[in-house]
Assembly symmetry: C2
Homo-oligomer: 271 residues x 2
């Protein structure tokens, strides 16, 4: 193979690192790939770090120690700041989204890849330091955002189901009270998680936190610690709040008949 | 801003293009971002193309015409070839995955971000030319792979539900017969898709194609054409096959009691 130029090395490293967020690549990996010296790769990494910072494309971190190397985290991206979330808020206010019974249609937003990619990265950026072993969500609507969060954190996604399925093997079932006051069931395969792990809960909507409360109870059955809870959208002032310490990307004013909807980005989201 | 060096431009362009697969970026976009001339950006693109090809990191395509520019497609990646799928086949054969009733536990594989990212890219690589307007899946297990496929194609993901939900608005419901012979219901919000669109169906498992047949019927109700069908895993020789023209990533030999399982990558998957 011809000698690989710095230009080419940087282009390739950029693709490799950013397409596997939070995965640590050793410098030796790149030395072998490019047949080049460690000192050269170190210089490449420094240039890449500066470029990521300059254009707000994420953070490239060097990790020291035996398992050391370099990893990419989609933190502080120019593309996924307050403007990005504000645009989603504006979408939520489009005419026709308010349904009978005080419901809001936003299934389309929750499964638009470029939006959930951004929302997942933004959520992940808040939880790199909590040591989550997996992301937990409850089927169905929160799955895409939860998956993109898990992808950015490089941890598995675990999906709780409404009922035990034969193809999930033996399962733990619990009952919980939803935000509407209904009693529902939540099930999770016994083999899905391990005792002593830490969970990050990600879900689409918090009315009062009933479903999230259910997920917390479910995690207790597995002796799993809840390390964080984040919603795409949360009611700003619920009558009854069943969880605490939660975050959300957007806050929704109480949906009362006749009053116009208000949705805004959460305060923690930086410009 | 200081003049941006070619090194830095290539590193940034690589991140920007590959993190938004199938999105066309105009050359002007990069000219403005880097305050540089179009001829310079054209040279950058040529270098980036060569690098992507050399290291099998995907395909960078220039698109001519009024809406022209450059786009990245995750096609032919070294990381997601036959070896990648073979490793997933090996995982499926791990002890303890066979459940009573001839079921196979692979929910963990279907929601492991790095695996579904690869599987989704691989599926998408086969359907760039069919003009799909969206990816359709049926809740729940196929959602992660379907989302990653939609992400690579840059089209929305549409999720059919088992039942109409109040927060989805008015919906179309159909009944279908599953691979097990059960009659189930499938529902899709009326506003989710538009008449005349083209759907790519992506689902986790094909036993005989009952659920896929249901999705095809559902699309007929919306006057939507099915442009392709792809499964993660399909039974190699189903007793009764209800769909045709489908692809899958992996083929499973018939699960008979006592016989060892056999799973292999589909023939179309290149080394």
């Amino acid at each position: 193979m011809d000698k690989v130029k710095r230009n080419e090395r940087l282009a390739a490293m950029s693709q490799i690192l950013t397409s596997s967020p939070n995965r640590i690549f050793t410098l030796s990996f790149f030395c072998e790939l490019f047949s080049t010296a460690k000192s050269t790769v170190s210089e490449d990494v420094a240039i890449l770090q500066d470029t990521m910072t300059q254009f707000r494309l994420g953070r490239l971190e060097t990790v020291t120690g035996a398992a050391g190397g370099v990893r990419y985290r989609p933190i502080g991206l120019a593309a996924y700041g307050r403007d990005f979330i504000q645009k989603i808020c504006d979408k939520l206010l489009e005419p026709g989204r308010q349904l009978p019974g005080g419901y809001l249609y936003f299934s389309d937003i929750l499964s638009a890849p470029e939006l959930v990619h951004g929302m997942g990265s933004l959520i992940a950026s808040q939880y790199y330091d909590v040591g989550a072993d997996f992301v937990l969500t409850m089927e169905t609507k929160g799955i895409p955002v939860a998956l993109m969060t898990a992808n950015a954190l490089r941890v598995p996604l675990i999906i709780a189901r409404h009922a035990t399925k034969v193809y999930e093997g033996s399962a733990v079932n619990i009952s919980y009270v939803t935000g509407n006051g209904n009693i529902e069931t939540m099930a999770l395969s016994r083999r899905a998680v391990k005792e002593g792990q830490r969970a990050l809960i990600v879900d689409d909507f918090m009315r009062g936190g009933g479903t999230a409360r259910g997920m917390i109870e479910l995690m207790k059955e597995f002796n799993v610690t809840v390390a964080g809870i984040c919603f795409v959208l949360a009611l700003e002032s619920p009558k009854k709040r069943l969880v605490e310490g939660e975050k959300s990307l957007m806050l929704l004013s109480d949906m009362r008949d006749g009053e116009p909807l208000r949705v805004r980005p959460a305060d923690w989201i930086e410009p």
